[in-house]
């Protein structure tokens, strides 16, 4: 029965159904492109497919989402997509994770995927996924679309220690645009309307076909030695292929050493909390932490601050307005770098509210994933 199902694939000389059936692939983002990628991977018989999305289905998604129906509106995208592709091929293993991949995808799990397909709709998520993939040396395929163009980028991290990452060639304007959505560096501005980019099933299916083809090549063991980008004009069919060179000033990868050591630790800060022989050594946190705040008018004494120690991303710029005096006079302290000494002395008993800690020495990047 299973062989008969894939009989046509077996006639293709480059198609290794056995490798495809044992492959493990993750799809991050189950919107328009994610739907098409999931459908393609399932029909090809990819053995294990994990779907991640925090978002719920809206009625306007239905013009581009082959796996969604009108009665699915309001349900989680990953859950519905998983259920539908499981029906496409009951022989494959499908899991879904309804939430943010940053919280739900442990680094050791990321390492086990043949590749991760990035089908999200914003730069922040792409940069975070790029971090996970560069640190775990997991192959990454990024996709992007608009109403006319399709973009697919392959980052073959698994077999190449010196390869460009997603951020190596990212324009400065992307960072400027992201920064414009924050005030005081890391606090989200209160009312920011995201620009809506119109897309169609034409560009999303084209991106997914290309991305799936690249995923299949990685599964089949094709050696990619460089990161590459493919841009296709869906109206004319004209395409452009280019290579990415590693950028020595890349903020995503230039500090990462050739040797990366990944370990796990409890997030609880106790007196035994130690990750370096040197208590003064700096550790970087994967996410900025809002350490404390203080109204300089109501509490002029610098010691009178309110300690928070939570992810800065959970707060917005309203925090800078004092609830007592109503002035914009609140000083907020946000850090992404600490010493062991500082953590134990100031925050014992608290949990470090980030995905991982990062230490650098001359030879090695150490990543401590927190649980």
């Amino acid at each position: 029965m299973t062989f008969e199902r894939y009989q046509r694939h077996s006639l293709i000389d480059w198609f290794a159904q056995d490798l495809v059936q044992t492959a493990k692939v993750a799809i991050i983002g189950c919107g328009a492109v994610g739907n098409e990628v999931a459908k393609n991977l399932a029909l090809l018989g990819v053995g294990s497919i994990d779907l991640y999305d925090f978002d719920t289905i809206e009625i306007h998604n239905l013009t581009r989402s082959v796996l969604f129906r009108e009665h699915d509106v309001g349900k989680n995208k990953a859950e519905v997509a998983a259920m539908r592709i499981q029906k496409l091929d009951p022989n494959i293993k499908v899991n879904y994770f309804a939430g943010d991949f940053w919280d739900l995808l442990p680094l050791d799990k990321a390492q086990n995927y043949n590749c991760i397909l990035c089908c999200v709709d914003n730069f922040e998520a792409r940069i975070k996924l790029n971090q996970i993939c560069t640190l775990t040396r997991t192959n990454l395929i990024n996709t992007g679309i608009d109403s006319k163009f399709t973009q697919v980028e392959v980052f073959p991290f698994a077999n190449n220690k010196q390869v460009a990452c997603y951020q190596c060639n990212l324009p400065n304007t992307v960072y400027e645009r992201m920064q414009a959505r924050y005030s005081c560096g890391w606090l989200k501005k209160i009312a920011v309307t995201e620009k809506k980019i119109p897309t169609t099933i034409i560009t999303s299916s084209l991106a997914a076909a290309m991305a799936t083809s690249k995923a299949l090549a990685l599964i089949n063991g094709n050696e990619f030695t460089k990161a590459e980008s493919i841009l296709i004009n869906s109206a004319t069919g004209v395409s452009s292929i280019s290579n990415f060179e590693q950028n020595n000033c890349c903020i995503g990868c230039h500090t990462t050493k050739k040797h990366i050591f990944i370990t796990k630790s409890s997030a609880n800060i106790t007196s035994k909390f130690n990750f370096s022989d040197n208590a003064k050594a700096e550790v970087n946190t994967s996410d900025p932490i809002l350490v404390s705040y203080r109204c300089v008018k109501c509490n002029p004494n610098t010691n009178d601050c309110t300690v928070v120690f939570k992810k800065a991303d959970d707060f917005d710029a309203s925090l800078t307005t004092c609830k007592q005096c109503n002035h914009d006079s609140v000083d907020v302290v946000i850090q992404d770098s600490f010493t062991t000494h500082e953590l134990i002395n100031n925050y014992a008993g608290k949990k470090i509210p980030v995905k991982f800690l990062r230490l650098e020495n001359k030879q090695q990047t150490t990543i401590i994933e927190l649980e």
């Binding site: 992007g144 679309i145 190596c168 060639n169 324009p171 980019i197 841009l231 452009s240 060179e245 950028n247």
Partner: protein, 83 residues
């Protein structure tokens, strides 16, 4: 200052210019000039590809460092964000 002659165009090929350009200019400089001169949408981000060598030019790298030479064709491509 050393100049070279290049062709610059947009990915959809609706804009094209032949120009003499300083090798010290960066990829970001050229993108900015193209966006301004051709009134390209400012809510989109762009990268620049040397279509002759098939290599993307890093935003802060000079044309000289990116090994751009006389006669190369550079293409301004959108960096796509929707999914």
């Amino acid at each position: 200052m050393s100049n070279i002659n290049i062709i610059i165009r947009t990915a959809d090929k609706t804009r094209k210019a032949e120009l003499s350009i300083d090798l010290q200019q960066t990829g970001a400089d050229i993108i900015q000039s193209a966006v301004e001169n051709w009134s390209l949408p400012t809510d989109t981000d762009y990268s620049i590809v040397n279509t002759t060598s098939g290599t993307t030019i890093a935003p802060n790298a000079s044309l000289k460092d990116s090994a751009v030479v006389d006669g190369n064709i550079l293409e301004i491509q959108p960096v796509l964000v929707a999914g």
